[in-house]
Symmetry: D5
Subunit: 163 residues, 10 copies
């Protein structure tokens, strides 16, 4: 039973604002007792990308669908149908976030947003860090003070076009 | 003149919502033609932390004030007075951000927030990544596709107390 | 299967805020494996107009209904009934947009809105570009830097009446 | 006097939310009686880009500053100082826009946003049209029905990274 | 079929925020192929008032119910039950309106609100034009420039009480 | 003194959000003790248009400026300068309105918006009533029940383009 | 039938945001053709309190439940179950109110709020009028000008504690 | 000194959003040490109306101005000028109110709004209680439980016009 | 029956925004007639924590699930399944709160927020009181003035990291 | 200098939204190098109450003014004048709070609000904990895990009146 605790599941009250694939995927994940780490390994993708895919925030390639159907013991045809089309992103939760964990990330943007901008501008010039040509990962570090979560955001630098 | 372009300065129209120290610090920085990188090195702190300090979003230690007054050629007494007290954080800019660079960071939270939560919960249990017992840095990477901005967020994991 | 990926489908979680015709049309489009390009050609209309019609944001003429029922293999009577009446526009998604692709369009308005106004006023005088007596199209261009999306907005200039 | 009407000037009540350069530039433009068309020609840039620069929404290159100081009869030193740093974009006006001309552009995003997304996704795959690696222009067409404003948006297609 | 186009029907996606009578009335109207003009004539009321009644924004008198049941071929008992009680007004659509036609009316209030107030105050003194002791109508005018919609608002002037 | 009461003046606390011309015009109007009716007659325009012009919501033609400078005893040069450029509309007051008189107009849109749309669509087809190619007037009627304010809105009908 | 008009019923479209007891109570009230006045008399409570109870905004005592079940011909057991627990107040309608009648009350707070505060502070000192230790009633007065509604609010004065 | 406490004064930080007359009136009131009760008596008006007048939310008649200038020892000419024109109501404070005393009044509308509507509709029919043809007063009652504030709202009943 | 009144139950109209476990737990609690005090004692946890767990705002340990299934007479398997995963916090009610009891807590933060910050900063330095490494309890005190609710908030002090 | 760090001062950018007394008091406090603890002792009040008084959120008694003028070396007359009148509460900062320390308190209300309500209702019945007849204090505890902040909220229980 304790193990069940280590598996993220889908809160029944947010099912309605997500695509139908979210319900299918999360239920299969719970039934198989799989972590995102295990699924990410099977797909050769990052854990965050896989979790995003489960929440309907990232696209599955045909190869992902085959791998998912195997590891989650779901019919490939059903997954193909439910994951067809292009993700309608940005809908997992409200902004500003009300979930404390997600709020902390929002607060980092609120507190350090202009500082990031100033430092990035000085390092790269006038432009932005892409959130599309982008990858991210989560790592765990442990030292004598306890555990630390390390989130890395890596985006292509896009200079503003001169026109 | 081209160099001047590489120095982040304070937009005159946001001066009013920042503490008086922001104006003092940014003007001195522009006058000395210093980047945040140079100032950060002098203070032994991260560039982002120094930029945050300039925007009134981080506290200066007495040692920081001495180092700042030297490198920026400002009177220590003036800086001490203007940087007295505790930062009133979160006020650099509006949320949701309207600045495109900062918006991209916000969008990452919006799109991947629940994915981060699911992965962090599976890795650490029920809790949050602290934004207080926290550090962050910005790095530049270059490959054949161009430049990449890499932002690292590192926060202490805080489990929810059982009570 | 890869082809299925190239067909835009209707996210199950937004069905409720659209007219019933949206579900009918998108399901038939998926079943027939048709792109908007193909349907637009059959109707002699722009792709964007046809997609807008699918989202309930544009009106179908009786001729459109006949053409749609043919190409989508739907009963003309059903389509006529579901597409009766006048579109209740503006309801496809939230504003500000949370979908990254749509947000970029919004950001263009936010960043360049006053610049467009100044330039249009100098070219045409005091008035507006109509969004009603209006057409729009999407084109794809490719050069050695990659692919470019080109969106054209063409609206009648309406001068403010003097009264 | 009638000519004065053809020059866009800065509304005194929005000066405070723009950088100090906006006031300098608009006043000089009015004093010289120049249109954005004339200034754009002098800079070799698009009219919209130049208007955006005047509103603090685009960056001036050192060459732009030289050209601007000449045509506007402003001291190069003053312009260099006021245009130093990186634009703090997105602040020209409120969103949703209250100005009727700008609102029409917003309404186009509201009404056609999902239609653009569906068509772009089918043409390009899963990604966005960049608003950074981007250019735009305004043209005037006239036919027997009257004048038409044509706005072209051209942005690099950025596919979502797989990670 | 073309005629069906001339009949306003109820968008299926807004049914839930309206009273149950709206569905009943609009379905019967569509089934009978009646315009609001025809129904208004039968009831001896203004078209706008009748449309408002259909949207649950105005009250039906017992005589209205009898007339409606006749012309719409509905059971008087059903209508009486569904139209019992007092309208819960203001709920037909969101404000600010997202529908372009309704937005134009909103924009008129936004642009001319203070002008109306100044003119009305000078004509009538300190008070308001009632929206309760009020009637409104829509007329169509045609001249060589095309069609014109004329909306008349007529409200009792209520002076602020001195107390 | 009682007469002074009949002249609308500019509330000192909203001066800051209006163009500088508003202050000039309203002060001159008060000094001359003129109503909008008198000024409108001198300009050959509607009272509402003139009041809108005073609030910076409508443009003055060169002829208007001459007439205004005469009747208000203002220097033509000053008026020309302050009224140069194109109005930045929509900024007279907040929306939703907090002023009771203006709120009543907003409430009419809220309560009758969909009813107007249904009736207009049936009378004209799919389109909007323009708020640009538009005029409006205010009239006073008196009967045995008291005074009535009659506001007429007259706008060009614009059908949605088929594209 | 005319009488039915005099009975307030529950709008079907707001049922979902109210507790289940609201539906039960309002349906029984309509079936019995009872006004709030009649029910209030049976319970020995104020009409407003009884209406609030029907909307789930006030608590029913065990005696109220007995009286309600008698007059409304409902099973006491059902009422006891549905009215168990403590009201989750504040949910009857949106704020700002969109219903014209309720908006007028809101407008009174908006217009006179600071005036009430100034007068109450001068009469009672630093504190508030309680909305909990509170009662309210509605009365009808008629004079030669027509009908007047009189609402009385009576709340305990609570001085701010000194600590 | 204790008496000073009993006089409501104007908070310096809200001066900017009120008309200039508010500052004049409140300063004179403080200088003369007068309560609203005393001023109301001199004007023959209700205390709430007088306080509203001080906050720019009610109009002063010529007679009020004479009486005010006497009791407040202000020049009649200054008052006449500052109180000219028609109040721009609704601007004393934000909504929802953040001041606890005013919030309690707002909460009463939130909690009892629908209850008031149901009871008023049953007593008067379909209409509203006017907030314009309206008066209000504040009274103090004392019993063995302490002090009670009693606010009375009295408004003309306005039935919705049938049209 | 009076006792039933002392048991907090779940309002049927908020069930949809809570996880499915909330319905299960509250129904069982009502069926068994248990207070949170009794359940908290059985779990060895604070009442507030247990109520939070019922609202889906706190996590249940495997031991909690066993204890809950016993005292509530629920199947352990059902509870384990419904309480699997990590709470999606922050969703019990809207903010600002509309429930009067919860609003009072919000008002305390609004009124005393900066005062708490100033005092905490002086006592502890630059940092925050954790809401995660945190516990809280509710106590009842009675004196001759009546009953008093005492809420204690106890959180770990987290200093901002210097980086 | 380090000591200066332990004194909370007023951020220059929020001065404008606070009463003038805030600036006077905070500047004197900084000049005297006093903590709220020291001032609270001199006044015989809680530190939080004194800090609230400095932010204009609590009233000073005549005795407080005498004590404040002594300890802060301010003229009694000036303080009396600036602290005259009744606090206009709720204006120290925005809600939701953007300051991280204050946000944590807000988050506690968001996460535990309904839990507090359920527990308080079961302990006290239907009512609220007063935020007016209320006191609060901050304490520091230290154990082997570090420092803990303990905030106590104590409010009178107010049962809803039956009427």
């Amino acid at each position: 039973m304790a193990e069940t605790k280590n598996i993220a599941v889908l809160d029944s009250s947010i099912v309605d604002r997500l695509p139908i694939s979210s319900k299918t995927l999360f239920e299969a994940k719970a039934a198989q007792g799989l972590t995102f780490e295990a699924i990410a390994e099977a797909l050769g993708r990052s854990e965050v990308a896989v979790a995003a895919l489960f929440y309907g925030q990232a696209q599955a390639s045909p190869e992902d669908i085959i791998a998912l159907s195997k590891i989650l013991k779901l019919q490939e045809r059903v997954l193909t149908e439910q994951l067809a089309g292009f993700p309608d992103r940005g809908r997992a939760g409200p902004m500003p976030p009300i979930e404390p964990l997600i709020y902390r990330l929002y607060e980092i943007v609120q507190n350090y947003g202009y500082a990031y901008k100033a430092v990035l501008n000085e390092k790269f010039g006038d432009g932005i860090m892409s959130a599309i040509s982008f990858s991210t990962k989560v790592e765990k570090e442990t030292d004598d003070k306890g555990d630390w979560a390390v989130i890395t955001l890596r985006g292509k630098w896009l200079p503003f076009s001169r026109f």
